[in-house]
């Protein structure tokens, strides 16, 4: 820091003419907008991607510093400054074409003086990582075990990592049931599972859970509602600017519709599934980048391909190579009218041409009627040659199960997975299994690594690439938390808000109404159930103070726990439990494990006081435990 300041001052001393402007606070350059475009246009060809003329790489800040061509804080001491400002045609950079403009030169000067600010994620290296679009690597053939484990075992060996300890059966059944169905396992089921000595009991449990179609559908409604921004109440419904796809979605999950068909029906939808591609129309006029065809372009790119088309909806993207024409190319496919491209809300006079993002997979014939264009798009999206499509969804499922995507963040699928073979293997497996998502979940849930204990979420640092050490604990979603509390207190609501078909209406016992099927309330909203105006693919991982406040003194939870206490005390009476037995039963139900002696002593009821209140508090205490709220 000192040396930097020193150089900065030295630079000033050498250039007294600059002093005034420096002293009044020269504005540092804006890298993304002022510097990056110049580097891209004028320098990249000779100084990036394997071509490093004069030994200079401009791919990253690090590379630039290594070359010694720039001194942070002092343009005068920087070779690149003298090379862009010199009159000597033999030395001047760039050697071809016009010199940089005065503005560009000055921006680079300010950039150097300002310390060469260069956000980590912006790089000139276009090909730091590229994977072929097609799937070429199936999972290894593994007759004996789960093929995921062959890859992960190898990974652990290569990285010289310790394998995490095995999860005990209680924790396993809890994890897998919460992950697959979003429900706590009942104490009876936990005990049966623990006591069973069937060597195949884990696989059998996973199969049994995945066959509970209604519970599965109810749970995964939240995931898909977030992704497809579907809800039962929300902005836009007020004046018909938005349509639900609830009935179609729930039925599709009940049927476990194959993922390629599922997406085909979303992209080229029947009326009941139209809501997704139609997006949200607010009353009045909207920004050019937010018309419904562009919402469509952004949403299908993000959800199905892990591509961020939001920047390119307004201008050629700064963060990747997607162009305005790519964003509009998708938009034109669904637009009823010829679509004029707008750059930053200003009309360009050009009409968008229908176009798929991966031209090698195939093209869209823009002269066809809309419905046929959408059919073509659905074909291309789900084409076996489009490996990005299965990769994106298996990565999302892996994230749900393992706490973090193979590729992270999950919406930037261009990024490198910590295990590319595993990503491709899972994607190939999905395709080979006719896009049956339950098969992917089954494969993950029956792997050895999924049966191992969770590992602490590492403190990431900018310099370390992510290292996979095992499954990470996941925070319960709002719906999981609410379902769990209702499950523990028998507090299920009696009013369904989701317009789902009720395939169980002939069955005598109605399934409980889950949180995912009712309108969001203040507590769920607080705990992170989103408004669903935008696509949401990742819920907040951590509890904020405002959320903790709602849990500590909010009326909604307090009322549930009050009724819950009555429920447990009645149960105690019926079962003729002692207080100790009550606490034991409660622990089994809440945490799927018996309580320890010291826990029991701590929590034992005091009959001199108000017992109802003590049970209320007991319930609060256990559901606030990280052990409860984090799926370990």
């Amino acid at each position: 820091m000192h040396s930097l300041l020193f150089r900065f001052l030295t630079g000033l001393a050498l250039l007294p003419g600059w002093f005034a402007s420096q002293a009044t606070g020269q504005e540092p350059a804006d890298f993304a907008h002022e510097i990056m475009p110049v580097l891209q246009a004028r320098c990249a060809e000779c100084h990036s991607n394997g071509v490093f003329q004069g030994g200079l790489s401009l791919e990253t800040r690090e590379a630039l510093l290594e070359s010694g061509a720039a001194e942070p804080g002092s343009r005068e001491d920087s070779e690149i400054w003298s090379r862009i400002t010199t009159d000597d045609a033999d030395l001047r950079m760039p050697p071809e074409g016009q010199p940089l403009t005065a503005d560009e030169i000055e921006a680079i000067g300010r950039w150097i003086d300002g310390g060469l600010e260069w956000p980590e994620e912006l790089s000139l290296a276009k090909s730091r990582f590229l994977r072929p679009l097609e799937l070429t690597r199936p999972l290894p053939d593994d007759e004996t075990g789960n093929p995921i484990d062959s890859l992960i075992d190898q990974y652990f060996r290569d990285q010289q990592l310790d394998y995490p300890a095995a999860l005990d059966d209680r924790q396993f059944i809890r994890r897998v049931q919460l992950d697959l169905l979003g429900l706590l396992p009942s104490p009876d089921k936990v005990n049966l599972f623990v006591e069973s000595d069937d060597p195949a009991k884990h696989e059998k449990l996973v199969d049994a859970l995945l066959s509970r179609d209604r519970d599965y559908a109810d749970h995964w409604m939240s995931f898909w509602n977030d992704l497809l921004r579907n809800d039962y109440a929300g902005t836009g419904y007020i004046d018909g600017g938005r349509q639900q796809i609830t009935g179609w979605l729930h039925r599709s999950l009940m049927e476990n519709k194959s993922y390629d068909h599922f997406v085909r029906e979303l992209i080229n939808p029947a009326e009941e599934a139209e809501g997704f591609i139609k997006g949200i129309k607010w009353r009045g006029e909207v920004n050019a980048s937010q018309i419904q065809p562009l919402q469509f372009s952004q949403n299908i790119s993000q959800v199905f391909l892990g591509i961020n088309m939001k920047c390119a909806s307004c201008h050629d993207s700064f963060i990747d190579d997607w162009k305005l024409a790519d964003a509009y190319g998708l938009a034109a496919i669904m637009s009823e009218q010829p679509l004029e491209m707008h750059r930053c809300d200003v009309p360009t006079g050009q009409i968008a041409v229908s176009k798929f993002v991966f031209p090698t997979v195939g093209q869209i014939d823009g002269t066809l009627p809309r419905a046929e264009r959408l059919t073509q798009l659905a074909d291309l999206m789900t084409s076996p040659e489009n490996g990005r499509f299965p990769r994106t969804i298996v990565n999302r499922l892996w994230q749900r199960m393992a706490g973090r995507g193979l590729v992270h963040p999950v919406d930037v699928m261009a990024g490198q997975a910590w295990s590319e073979p595993l990503l491709d293997g899972l994607a190939t497996h999905l395709v080979e299994n006719n896009y049956d998502l339950k098969q992917t979940l089954r494969l993950i849930a029956t792997s050895k690594i999924y049966r191992a204990a969770s590992v602490p979420v590492p403190e990431a640092s900018t310099s370390d690439p992510f290292v996979f050490r095992g499954i990470q604990a996941k925070r319960m979603t709002a719906e999981q938390f609410v379902d769990a509390v209702w499950q523990l207190t028998d507090g299920w609501p009696d009013q369904l808000n989701a317009a789902i078909e009720d395939p169980t209406s002939e069955v005598t016992t109605q399934p409980p109404i889950r949180a995912a099927l009712v309108n969001s309330d203040a507590l769920m909203r607080s705990l992170g159930r989103p408004n669903r105006e935008q696509v949401v693919t990742t819920r907040p991982a951590e509890l904020s103070t405002l959320q903790a406040l709602d849990l500590s003194n909010g009326e909604i939870l307090a009322n549930w726990l009050r009724e819950g206490a009555t429920y447990w005390l009645e149960k105690q009476q019926q079962e003729k439990w002692t207080d100790e037995q009550l606490i034991k039963a409660l622990f089994l139900a809440v945490l799927s494990r018996p309580c320890t002696e010291s826990e029991k002593v701590l929590l034992i009821l005091d009959h001199a006081g108000d017992v109802q209140q003590q049970v209320e508090d007991l319930l609060w205490i256990v559901v606030m435990l990280p052990e409860f709220q984090l799926i370990q």
């Binding site: 004046d239 403190e459 320890t596 010291s598 826990e599």
Partner: protein, 485 residues
Amino acid sequence: MGQAESTHITGNTMSESRREFLQKMSAATAAAMACAAPRPLAANRSVAPAATADSCILLWMAGGMAAPETFDPKRYEPFEIGLQAEKIISTFPAIDTVVDNIKISEGLEHIAQVLDRGTLIRSHVQADLGHILHSRHQYHWHTGYVPPQTVAAPHLGAWIARLPGPRNSAIPAFIDIGQRLEDIGEKEELKAFHTAGFLGSEFGPFVLPYPDRAIDAVRPPAGMTPARFESRYKKYRELVNREVGDHASDYQKESMLRSMENAYRLLNSPERVAFELTQESAESVEQYNTGRFGLGCLLARRLVEAGARFIEVTTEYVPFLHWDTHENGHTTAARMKQEIDRPVAQLILDLEERGLLDRTLVILASEFSRDMMIEGVPGSSARDQSRAKADVMGEMKQFGLHRHFTGGSSVLMFGGGIRKGLLYGRTADERPCVAIENPVTITDLHATILRAMGIAPDTALEVEQRPFYVTEDGKGQPVEPLFDA
């Protein structure tokens, strides 16, 4: 060999050091560090201005306060059967204020006496969004962005809660008083902007719809004694400490416990008496009590005294009620003025008396103005939504400004470095009463508020790998003449 999936990778973008971050943001819990959380952009183009205010109170006239009936009175036409509608601009006479060149509308006598403490802007203009939907215009006003947006845009209060952060960690940095978000029309649209959006819920509004019940939000649940509340928490902590498992260093667990601890401390803090209106003398309550809005002003004063950062107090948006006059405009405006006049003036005087006004920015604003004839602005395609259409006055309910007008509205600003006794901007005296001098857009008004709070208008945070600016695309320009030299 297939085509490459894409030609440019942006790297492992989210590998920011969580812990380092945490240290930088003393008041925020780790919620803000979730993987999708925004991070500051390294280089904002301009330097943060020196703050001229520590706290900000936004007095929100929800529903469209008619400038000609309040702070920008025009030619007055009393009600008369047979009066031609197009002749009507103001339905109240003007009154004098303590500032020589400023007259405001009858019914605002108390505010008239404090105008020398602040600035009156008469040239605030809003975008014509084609078709008026109050909640959409309110969304625009509060976030600076027109919905829909590709990422959830934060409320102005959330930006302020995020950037300078809280003044006092025991008082939530963004408090919203008076607006219900359930059981009213357009509630979903209201929720859409009563949010910290991509900033994360840590910076979202602490919602207090009923000021006289504000204390309930910061004390143990109803029916729980402090002793029981304390014992519950202590047992909880003890149980946590005994928890088996080897995740002691897990930041997820740590942050959860830290948030629980913060909440517990807040619910036990001495500052929470600031939420308790019964601490005020009967006289003081009487001075403010014109209803929920008035009491909201009193609560805001108490909270600023206790160290709040950003507070919004609203007359509450309920479709067709309060300032949202689609009929009966004159009568309703009279009632609304009664509701705001005394408490707004008293708030300014109280802040001044306590020496807080100089560092507290108070703004009174609305999503747009109203007009007797024009919906939107002249030439707008917006559909007329008046419920009492009449070419000539036949009954009282037709008398008033029943159309939504975006061409010129009034804003009051007091304290926090704002000039005193200034009149800024002007609207035409005859219809259309559009701003004809120094128009101030929402973007520039935000930039002005942010400048007072010490935030540069092109401050950006990164979300989904791109910058999101505190004013639209970083383009806001503070209105410099409004500030004390």
